[in-house]
Symmetry: C2
Subunit: 415 residues, 2 copies
């Protein structure tokens, strides 16, 4: 609501951003189409496009035949303008991927992590190694890397040091951005993994072209990424969307967060398996990990081999529907995208039932206005989503690169 002051330069930047975003996200488009889509004048489109081409941001991409008239020249964002890196810092591995501007993958490095070595310094080492590896693999000029996006399984304070709070890694206030900056001059963008996955779905998956989307992620943990009016909803301190710990059964099952009755305690993988064991006279589901155990449950429920699995999963669908209804009622989105490996497993089999359960618990009107869909990109899109962060920053800035910083020695602040 309270806008900032504007100068003619801001105007230029804003218009460049509008135009470049259209070309990048909806291209290829002709100058003529761009004037209509952006409501900029033909003169301005012409001038700005000329700038973009001059700068290498945009290139011509053939033309469209006309039926009596000058043919339109199509424009697209130049895939080779620069490269971006996406990093998925997970609980079990670090994945680093390098993309060109069209998000075509040019290199990938994977590093499994043992539980014992979650120390931030180790993690930073893995990330930097991975970056070196993908640059070497792809042979791109390190100067041409616009930035890297880091997805972490926790909350990121968007301050200068990029403090990360991630319970699952045992991190509480780790200055990850500052630590990475000490080892690399590539501009760093950071966000929560659920939010980057949501971002990937917004640009390339089930959220394309929609402005109000909540991506609901169900795996071992349960979280959500909220996009409103095309922009990520972060809240005051970037921790919005903690869907897994909303109370759905007051006084109910104990959650690993310490509270009772959290959604995660019912629809998170661990919660499902615990409930199954209880329903199955103490006998756990078979599988070497959570994912295969839940896969086995679904198969057994489907084949009728396990009544307990059938009951527990059917209850899970109910809880999940109620949880989705909470999102619908509070955020009033146009679309709910259900993802995460457990969400995909459940949704792949029972999406209509999940929709019905949500309908039961949501208000009629907002429910009628929402469509509930499955994730399209799969759980590995976290790094892809992370890599969109520097691209999003470039677009928001009208195509002007953030200046690369020289590596800054890590300074311990405070005390």
């Amino acid at each position: 609501m309270v806008a900032r002051r504007a100068t003619v330069r801001d105007m230029r930047r804003s218009n460049r951003s509008v135009l470049l975003s259209k070309i990048y996200l909806d291209g290829p488009l002709s100058r003529h189409e761009l004037t209509q889509l952006t409501s900029l004048s033909p003169a301005s489109v012409s001038t700005l496009v000329a700038e973009f081409i001059e700068e290498g941001l945009v290139e011509e991409a053939g033309s469209v035949e006309s039926d009596g008239g000058r043919p339109r020249v199509l424009l697209r964002a130049a895939p080779g303008f620069g490269h971006v890196i996406g990093v998925d810092v997970g609980e079990t591995r670090v994945t680093v991927e390098l993309f060109d501007m069209s998000m075509a993958a040019l290199g990938k490095a994977d590093h499994p992590i043992e539980r014992a070595t979650l120390a931030p310094e180790m993690m930073v080492g893995h990330v930097l190694d991975g970056i070196g590896a993908v640059i070497a693999q792809s042979g791109v000029n390190a100067e041409a890397i616009l930035g890297m996006g880091i997805a972490v399984p926790g909350v990121v304070d968007q301050g200068d040091d990029g403090l990360v709070h991630a319970q699952s890694l045992g991190w509480d206030g780790v200055p990850l951005r500052a630590m990475l900056r000490a080892g690399s001059s590539i501009p760093i963008h950071m966000d929560n993994g659920a939010k980057t996955l949501g971002q990937a779905e917004m640009w390339f998956g089930a959220g394309r072209g929609v402005d109000h989307v909540v991506t609901a992620l169900v795996g071992s943990g349960v979280g959500a990424s909220v996009v409103a009016e095309g922009a990520s909803y972060r809240g005051a301190r970037s921790s919005a969307g903690e869907w897994g710990h909303t109370t759905i059964m007051y006084g109910g099952r104990l959650c690993r967060c310490g509270a009772r009755g959290c959604l995660e305690a019912y629809v998170g993988a661990e919660g499902i398996l615990d409930r199954f064991r209880e329903a199955n006279r103490g006998k756990a589901a078979e599988g070497i990990d959570e994912e295969s155990a839940i896969g086995a449950m679904i198969a057994d429920a489907d084949s009728g081999a396990s009544r307990a699995a059938e009951v527990v999963l059917s209850e899970t669908v109910g809880y999940l529907g109620a949880g989705i209804a909470t999102l619908v009622n509070l955020f009033n989105p146009e679309r709910i995208v259900l993802g995460g490996w457990a969400g995909l497993a459940l949704g792949g089999r029972w999406l209509p039932e999940i929709r019905a359960a949500a309908a039961e618990h949501a208000l009629r009107r907002p429910f009628e206005q929402v469509s509930i869909e499955l994730c399209q990109l799969g759980p590995d899109a976290v790094a892809l989503g992370a890599a969109t962060l520097p691209v999003a920053a470039l677009l928001a800035n009208g195509g002007v690169r953030a200046r690369a910083e020289s590596p800054r020695p890590l300074r311990i602040s405070g005390l």
Copy 2:
């Protein structure tokens, strides 16, 4: 994220808006202070302020002595620049109030409503009568009325017709804006009553100066108004913030919305009284209406006269805390403002307990970042909040009045 194209005119409007909003919301201020607060240049501030004074939007308000230097001249929004009307369309009455720009009340008209006469045509009649009455009372020039804000107990589609969906009035798609426009040339702004109350608290109450606020309203109904980054969070179709029908007890009490386990069924006035009756061996709380009945319960719980009241209210505090925790986890606000008559009654007595219950169910970090406070303006601020809508529109538009429309005959669209 996707900004719109900008012209020099937009820039001017935006800068006027920034400057005027500062003067209105934080004034009186000197030109010098304004340059620092808005980061506009002294030259621009000078020019724009001169325009505002010329147009009557702003006036000088004394000066501040200096210690060796030219004294600063203070500026404030001119209270007499125009007038605004706020209308609270409630389930039991229609209240119309007229204010000057400083939100000083200059006239008020109240019209009780019998349950039988909720027909939209009647309601429109009451509103128009009320407007005539407050204009006559206050003696202001009808031309000088900038606009009216209408608060309704339901969802408002922000389209041209201003369709209103209000279950409690039995309205489903009533084109209230179009109907009012047929009887008045004053520009019309509409919103949900909870949202206008939240808006009032943002400007003049417990939400002042905070950018991320959720106002939680507990009365007969239960709802919330979400403000993020200083702007109302509406969702895709303006129905965001339906907190009352989030599931807090899966499979629990039947709510009047038809679902089971809604928060409203536990902490809404009716839910509290129902639960008390059940706990009190079928004997209801005493009082001619819900408000006095709950007042009596609180008094009895306090004095130890009723163990049942004590238990039920203590449980209510728990449910309310869990509901608030859901808001904290999902929206990550800086402040929760608890209001509504029942919310104030409960909060007035048990605010520390409510905070503690919220702490139990919220994640530690977001809970530490939020302060939970009581509403400051009371439930009658709905009309005041509604009246801020035209002022907000004026500020957003840089002080340029929406042109008054000539009354447009009501056209039934469709069919």
